[in-house]
């Protein structure tokens, strides 16, 4: 499960570009800062590599292990 904090995200799209599984998608609407923030849409594809959380310059992403059933 990926959680993205929209208050911290500045919309640089590094997570979207560097995700090896294309989990993220750009939102169609602007947020209140005037940027298209990425949405972790394809969560089922996520391999929990944690690269997006490590690369996010604004510490906006958390990758959680899924609960067992």
């Amino acid at each position: 499960m990926i959680k993205l904090d929209p208050n911290l995200c500045k919309g640089c799209n590094i997570c979207m570009e560097f995700c090896p599984k294309q989990v993220y998608e750009q939102s169609k609407t602007l947020d209140r800062k005037g940027v298209h923030i990425p949405i972790p849409k394809n969560q089922d594809k996520c391999s929990k590599c944690d690269l997006c959380a490590l690369m996010c310059p604004d510490q906006a992403i958390k990758v959680e292990e899924d609960d067992e059933q």
Binding site: D5, C12, A53, L54, M55, Q59
Partner: protein
């Protein structure tokens, strides 16, 4: 219970100061994450870490971290850090510095700390330009790059910080970029554990100035440029110097053990005037 949708690194940060001041996509935040990751891997205690920084975008990092920190004069963080380390040699002192801070105005402090082999961890975030003051050419700007003081491209030969510091006598030297966050975290882990002067050059993106002046306007363009141009040291050793022109050589350059300055100094004090005073921490730690 802690909140569930916070970044794993949020527990080390001063939340009231976030979101940080850096431009969207700036590499400083990535280097901060890799520092925390390296610190976790090295099993260091944040309470025993003291950060020092000078002036520049990268030097704002210690202000966001929940640890003791010094924001010092331009170019002098290593001098302040030397004082800290000699005052309390049990402390782990980390210096966050930029290319202008470490190589231009503070170049002398950098080489002398490396010469003494004092146990500091210097993380130099090199963005190839003076980002905070408006995009002037810095001593590490690559030949031919543009800046606000070089509208026709700079013809100066840049500093190779890794070579400079290795030549001055540093005992752990590595260079990675922000597209190699795991390798950078691993290098930071080794540097924190290393006894002696450890220097890490983290090549980072400044798309606001360096990128904009050099036709790489977005952070993604700059990251792509770093990814395409970085060559691992093991591979670069077998290549000709002509092939390596304009490339970033990444990897671990020096890793050796030598006598450490603060240890030597305290040994000398002990030898000449008996036991060391235990008063270092008494002022604020109680008894």
């Amino acid at each position: 219970m802690e909140e569930t949708n916070e970044s794993p690194f949020m527990k080390y940060l001063r939340k009231d100061r976030l979101p940080n001041i850096f431009c969207a996509g700036c590499g400083n935040g990535t280097v901060l994450n890799t520092f925390f990751k390296g610190m976790e891997m090295a099993e260091m205690d944040l309470n025993n870490i003291n950060m020092a920084s000078g002036i520049g975008c990268s030097s704002r990092i210690p202000g966001y971290v929940k640890c003791d920190s010094l924001h010092t004069t331009h170019g002098r963080p290593i001098s302040f850090a030397t004082g800290l380390k000699l005052g309390n040699p049990n402390m782990d002192v980390v210096v966050f510095t930029g290319d202008g801070d470490a190589a231009a105005i503070g170049g002398n402090h950098l080489i002398h700390a490396a010469r003494r082999n004092i146990d500091l961890t210097v993380i130099c975030i090199n963005n190839n330009i003076y980002g905070m003051t408006g995009g002037q050419i810095s001593p590490t700007s690559p030949q031919g790059s543009y800046g606000s003081t070089a509208p026709y491209g700079t013809f100066e030969k840049p500093f190779d910080l890794v070579e400079l510091v290795s030549g001055a006598g540093a005992t752990y030297v590595a260079r990675w970029t922000t597209v190699h966050p795991l390798q950078l975290a691993n290098a930071i882990k080794k540097a924190l554990k290393h006894k002696g002067f450890s220097f890490i050059e983290a090549v980072s993106q400044c798309h606001t100035y360096y990128g904009r002046k050099n036709k790489m306007k977005s952070p993604l363009d700059m990251l792509k440029w770093m990814e395409d141009n970085s060559i691992n040291k093991r591979k670069a050793d077998k290549m000709d110097p002509e092939e390596l022109a304009g490339k970033l050589i990444v990897g671990e350059f020096v890793n050796k053990n030598q006598a450490e300055y603060s240890q030597e100094l305290y040994n000398l004090i002990e030898e000449k005037s008996g036991n060391r005073s235990k008063s270092i921490k008494s002022a604020y730690m109680g008894d």
